[in-house]
């Protein structure tokens, strides 16, 4: 098990009177690809910038490799940042951009030249040394920004939504590139994004944040399959979130019907939130289902059909590869293992976000 490399201890930060982070505590392990995930305003970028040294916390401390770096200036911290808008120096060539950090560390010319070649090769931009910044496309600028950061061999790389401005195909390619880089370089990545698919693809662990609070920390599978509250369930992937009553261990009642499930320890007759993923909802013949409903709409998504079924007063979202006609009667079946029970929100930050569908 890797040890804790970075620790945020009781970090509080406000801007203009608004509290952005409240008593945040977080540990990041060595060689981990950790993603801070959440909607805008949740505090993820602030957390990143606190680690980079571009902001100072109002209270609390930050530890890096055992040392307290809370008040260290950015240029004294042994980490590097890849900025959202790349922040390449417009008046310098690509080579000069990449060499910037190395020149400050007073490396020899031979060393720097080698490193530039190595970095450009690493991001698949060989031969771009003498190009100017504005002659590069967005994706290329992004890769140079990464090259410029990693060439200094930081122990930790901070990435602030670096793929946001790229188109889909390029973004997917870059995601694989980043994973490859991490494995090749063996360094810790702290990644910030609001794109949950990105988070699921690349991360070793995900920290879901909302309104300055950590909602859940876990592996992508944990977060997806076992969200701890409605917010996480709603933010990650599509979901059906239904009010329910936990009658007793392993039995929940939703929409007036009992569904056997596998969770325990919620007590008797407790109000809970129930989440069922659309791909876990099976459509069967009406007489074979636990409840019955009518197909109200169907959209072809390529990978699957997205079907809405009205059953027992709830609009179920279903992902299936089988076509069902609009208006047809269906039965709904869910195996107990796929029913996830969550505590009801204790505060506003745990509530499911309102999304316009």
């Amino acid at each position: 098990m890797n040890k804790d490399f970075i620790t945020f201890e009781h970090i509080t930060k406000s801007f203009d009177g608004e509290t952005v982070l409240d008593d945040l505590c977080l540990n990041i392990k060595e060689n981990e690809f950790m993603t801070l995930l959440g909607p805008s305003g949740c505090g993820k970028t602030t957390t990143l910038r606190l680690l980079g040294g571009f902001e100072t916390p109002d209270s609390g401390r930050i530890f890096f490799d055992g040392k307290d770096i809370t008040t260290l200036a950015p240029n004294e911290r042994k980490l590097n940042t890849v900025f959202q808008k790349y922040a390449l120096f417009p008046h310098m060539s690509i080579a000069e951009n990449i060499a910037f950090g190395l020149k400050i560390s007073k490396k020899s010319k031979a060393y720097i030249d080698d490193k530039i070649k190595y970095a450009l090769k690493l991001v698949n931009l060989d031969g771009f040394e003498h190009r100017s910044v504005d002659s590069l496309s967005g994706g290329q600028q992004q890769r140079i920004a990464i090259a410029r950061a990693i060439v200094n061999e930081p122990k930790v790389l901070l990435l602030d939504e670096p793929l946001g401005a790229l188109d889909l195909k390029l973004r997917q390619d870059m995601q694989y590139e980043l994973i490859r880089l991490k494995n090749e370089l063996g360094i810790t990545f702290l990644y910030v994004t609001h794109d949950q698919e990105e988070a699921l693809t690349m991360s070793d662990s995900i920290v879901v944040m909302n309104q300055g609070y950590i909602q859940q920390i876990g592996t992508p599978e944990d977060i997806y399959n076992e969200p701890v509250n409605a917010f996480v369930a709603d933010f990650i992937g599509d979901s059906n979130i239904i009010d329910g009553i936990m009658l007793e261990d392993r039995m929940v009642e939703i929409l007036g019907t009992r569904f056997p499930c596998v969770d325990e320890g919620f007590g008797k007759n407790q109000p809970v939130d129930v989440v069922i993923r659309p791909e876990d909802v099976e459509l069967v013949a009406p007489e074979d289902g636990i409840i019955q409903g009518v197909v109200s709409s169907i959209i072809f998504k390529g990978v699957h059909y997205e079907i809405e079924v009205k059953a027992n007063g709830f609009e179920w979202l279903v992902h299936t590869t089988k076509l069902h006609e609009v208006g047809s009667q269906v039965g709904i079946q869910v195996i107990p293992f796929n029913i996830q029970i969550m505590h009801k929100p204790e505060s506003s930050d745990e509530e499911a976000t309102e999304i316009d569908d």
Partner: protein, 274 residues
């Protein structure tokens, strides 16, 4: 199709350029290279080598360079401070430093004349403290004072504008890569403001070099700049040929600055005066 006909809109302006910008320059050329009889001659241009003329040119260069340097040294820190203020209404602060520029040129000289003259404010103040009066008026110092006072905003604004345009994340990136504040300034900030600095230099040096009013009012008859010589040859000496010849020499300096500007500045951006 549409574009071509739209280009015609610039027609009147093109006519105006030819008539009132190009032709006048040709007139100066004509007068510069002819004498009173109309014959071709180099003597008007060569006259720059005459002791009086040469001295006036060198003095103008000296005071012009001096004023430009002083403006630069004063303006750059000022621009950085103003930029660092990050005030919501940062335009208000800029406004305060720009306002004197919009006040009438002559009156600003009047103001300094009032301060510098022998029974003016500064001397009276010094005398009241027990010092003897300084003769500030009618000296090169007074002229430099006047030039700096008049042209300071023209140096400040282009520099300030280029500073404001520097994106914050570039500075953060430089620090992230290990640069301390000194390195950030010399490697990032200053190079990125270079076009603004050059704009500022040109906008101060050219007027300072060619000025005659400031040296006339604040220098008395004692500070004779090339601008004064030219002005006198037109308004008092009535030797337009000589005046044109000398003007041509002056224009060479201006052309050099223009070439410099077009090379390093962006098209017209640097000359935007706020």
């Amino acid at each position: 199709m549409i574009k071509q006909s739209r280009q015609l809109l610039a027609g009147p302006y093109i006519v105006w350029i030819i008539g009132f910008i190009i032709l006048p320059v040709l007139m100066i050329l004509y007068y510069a290279f002819t004498d009173a009889a109309g014959a071709f001659t180099f003597s008007n241009v060569a006259a720059i080598a005459e002791p009086i003329h040469l001295k006036s040119l060198l003095l103008a260069l000296k005071l012009g360079i001096l004023s430009t340097l002083i403006c630069l040294v004063l303006s750059y820190p000022l621009a950085m401070i103003l930029n660092g203020l990050h005030i919501q209404k940062h335009s208000f602060i800029v406004f305060i430093f720009v306002l004197p520029m919009w006040m009438n040129f002559m009156l600003r000289i009047l103001a300094w004349q009032m301060l510098l003259s022998n029974n003016g404010i500064i001397n009276t103040f010094l005398q009241s403290l027990g010092f003897s009066g300084i003769n500030l008026m009618n000296t090169q110092t007074a002229v430099v004072f006047g030039m700096v006072y008049d042209y300071l905003p023209f140096m400040l604004l282009p520099i300030y504008n280029s500073l404001v345009r520097i994106r914050k994340d570039i500075i953060e990136a430089a620090k992230d890569l290990g640069a301390n504040n000194v390195t950030v300034f010399f490697k990032i900030i200053f190079p990125l403001t270079l076009s603004g600095v050059i704009s500022g230099i040109v906008m101060v040096f050219v007027p300072a070099l060619t000025s005659f009013v400031i040296s006339d009012l604040l220098g008395g008859g004692k500070v004779l700049l090339i601008g004064n010589v030219i002005e006198q040859s037109f308004m008092q000496g009535m030797d337009w040929h000589l005046g044109s010849g000398l003007s041509l020499v002056l224009m060479v300096f201006v052309l050099v600055s223009m070439a410099f500007m077009n090379g390093k500045g962006k098209d017209g951006e640097g000359t935007a005066v706020w």
